[in-house]
Symmetry: D2
Subunit: 287 residues, 4 copies
């Protein structure tokens, strides 16, 4: 199976590299060419447009930052859809709203191309280690065909049914994640402000039923409240919160706490922390 | 060491039983006598007042539901303080505000009695299994003396310094726990309202960096949204949220998300879910 | 000036009637025909499509419930744009987002038609009395030309500059209004729950610096908490809150309180109060 | 009637002065003596303790900043209660919680003294002009006796029944006021951030059903977002929000929006705006 890979950001680069390591023939494209060069050194072919990637691939994977970026590589004369042949597959692993994926599916189907949306849970480290959680929905046939590749990028791959479901699942997952991060930051702020030892606080949290790997990783960063090396950028978390709240409005579901979490992320974004890790919301919570 | 145990609710009964099993001589008292009978069957002596418990103990442990209940067994002619002899110890394992513990310490010290506050993290199951997290602060000497008993009730025992610190740590811990529960409930509400499979949603949550035992235990209950067998009563969680927000006001720390969480718990309380498990906040979140 | 009027809901009917009373020749269209009959009795001509209205008018006014409804009468072969001749004017008085108005302006300009967005503040009563506040923005020439008609519908008409500004002003205005209503409802809930006399509470509010006509009108309804005769439907207020929060996200402005207000309105909508007056948010606030 | 006046802050000084102007014999005391000198110049007698004030008065009025300050002038050997003779009256016009007033009533009654709590609505200007709203509750006899004096300080005087009710009414009133101020600030932030003319925005608000004197006074200050001359200090508004939320917890009333308002006020306090006017909450809302 010849795989095309479009979008070589923090996540995409590592994911494409894992496919190369696994022996797949991978053709890449990225808006800025230097990212391509690094992949080429690992064995990737480099194409000069998303369309060119699609023309020489059985499956094209896109890994973009937001719906607009997805459209920019998908549509138009130099886009992925224009290059794909009937019977091939288009696999979008970006985190986008369900509407974008539904439109991608429509455009793919018009050309006789199969479509799968497959957003991931996990950030830089799991992307490098090939231990992402991959949530796929759309054409089952493409899922079955792509599984050998998906399993090189993720430790867990789930098929969730109709196209749109994976996007929705990702949003619900990130809603919980951002809520947990914010709860940790507020707890830390209270502990620290009350004169408690923050290392003991993290020890207490890690000793009970709420112990989890994210707290172990981010807890010390939040306690220090200075450096937040970017695993999952804060601006992307805020985007997911926005999309989650929009979905909630569509289905008539009030979300009082998530709405407050979103405002904190908006404030963090407004104060310039968008490129930091999503845990940097701590910077605007601590007094 | 002769141990007195006052307060045989869900938690206290199991904790006292673990002390009896470990071979300590335990004298108990409870406001309603039937709880005492059950402990007597396991080997406890039964006294007819908190004071009487204190008169025949080297250390008296209290495990009450709230500050007022603590005062009701601590003060007055029939209270614990009245019965304790100089040199003995008073160990309050109830979750109360720092002020209550500071007053307890003052009263104990007036009588030459050592004091330790030692609230716990964990609910019914860890209480039964003797795997609570115990956060102690106050007189170090009493801590060292009581450690053999504390280790029969908890798997982790921490000494946190001055009296009041354990209360504050407990509040910060429960703040995080209630925030996580609410985030899970809101995520579940969105997943369910969007037509996603709730079992797959829990699987996704459990596959990534936020995987934690509480979600595994409460997740299926929240998905079903019917029965919430009480491990930690919702009314107690709301009390802890109230105390956490009061502490935050004292130290000048804004807590936007926790304030929203608290209102949800208040609403759940107002709608009659106070005796259910704290996860029953789900009942007022789901549309 | 021959005026077309499309959209005869609660507001539109009264506004069109005021134009007729003032002597304008008015041609109307509505999705359901019975509303047209009532206006015909007052002197309106009735056309059988939005396009037909436009073909016989110098200025067409649209007064629809939401962006989608605006598009449904604006676009397509039977839409307003299709019927307007170059040099005429299209005046949209619906409350919609700025993007919808900007698109309406673009479509109008393509045909050589002038465009003005002119949403209103005020509900049933001011619509009947011709005392609305009208916020207009877009083509100044059409504003000047339409002023005689606008002044029959509103007691205050403001020109706010570029198209989109009126929509944004309306959203900011309704944000404040919904915040005030919710504050009144929460204050009333606290007063009532604390055993205070609600009539005295309203008297106190009306005696000081926050005294305002809306509180005098809605206060007794909120005190009774039963009937909420619809002046401005709750579902429209929630739509405006949604659009206001979306605008705030675009300009990077956190709005903690408005986000909480929006969740209350979403909850009121989810519980079936969408067709009631926006003050019916009280129904889900009172315990 | 000889009146004692204890507490000569921004409000108290003006209120005492109005009593002097009306011809009452007024004896004053203040923690810092310079405030007394100013009143002495207008005709007040100056006593050297709250007790000394009480000993030469038929009614003592206290106007303090918070419950602790009330206790500091009420209790102890040099306090008001110690100086009052049976049959005289103690009239507390401070804004305090109901519990403090209930305790004041108990202490007064023990000495055969009548008690009235009578907090006010309105700030510096109405205090100077004698146009406060005065909410009184407690001993009706003292109310009737004091009415001639109360009417010199307020334009509206209400009797609300049992002691505690006035405190609760004041809190509910200030809850609404702070909610309105915050709504105005958030609306202004959105208007300004969206490029709207803030003067036009205030004009729109003032043209409709929500037009009110407070918006006319504070609106331009909030639009400028710089100077906030103190009429009602922000720290006092936050105190009232805290007490309102505490009362709401007691009566089981969720207040989602007020909880968010309170966190904004806490944040404003934490950032050093406590001595500014309560409208200075704008400083932490605007991006």
């Amino acid at each position: 199976m010849r795989i095309g890979f479009v979008g070589l950001g923090i996540m995409g680069s590592s994911m494409a590299e894992n496919l190369i390591k696994a022996g797949f023939q991978v053709t890449v494209w990225n808006r800025t060419a230097d990212k391509c060069r690094l992949l080429a050194e690992k064995g990737a072919r480099v194409a000069d447009s998303p369309r060119a990637v699609a023309e020489c691939s059985d499956v094209v994977i896109a890994m973009m930052a937001n719906p607009r970026a997805v459209e920019s590589v998908r549509d138009g004369e130099e886009g992925i859809i224009a290059g794909l042949k009937p019977g091939t597959g288009y696999l979008d692993m970006s985190t986008v709203d369900a509407e974008t994926s539904i439109e991608s599916a429509r455009l793919a189907h018009e050309k006789g191309v199969l479509f799968l949306e497959a957003p991931v849970s996990g950030s830089r480290q799991p992307a490098e280690a090939g231990t992402l959680i991959i949530m796929a929905s759309g054409d089952r046939e493409l899922y079955d065909r792509s599984l050998p590749a998906l399993e090189k990028m993720g430790k867990k791959v789930l098929f969730l049914g109709d196209v749109g479901n994976a996007a929705r699942m990702k949003l619900a997952n990130n809603l919980v994640m951002s809520g947990m991060l914010t709860a940790l930051c507020e707890g830390m702020a209270l502990a620290s402000g009350s004169g408690l030892d923050t290392a003991q606080f993290l020890d207490v949290l890690d000793s009970g039923a709420i112990s989890n790997p994210m707290f172990r990783l981010k807890g010390p960063q939040i306690a220090a409240n200075k450096e937040f090396p970017t695993a999952f950028p804060l601006k992307h978390m805020q985007k997911d919160l926005r999309l989650a709240l929009r979905l909630a409005e569509e289905v008539g579901q009030p979300l009082f706490v998530t709405a407050a979490v979103n405002e904190l992320y908006k404030k963090a974004l407004a104060e310039g922390f968008g490129e930091f890790d999503s845990a940097a919301v701590s910077r605007i919570i601590r007094k």
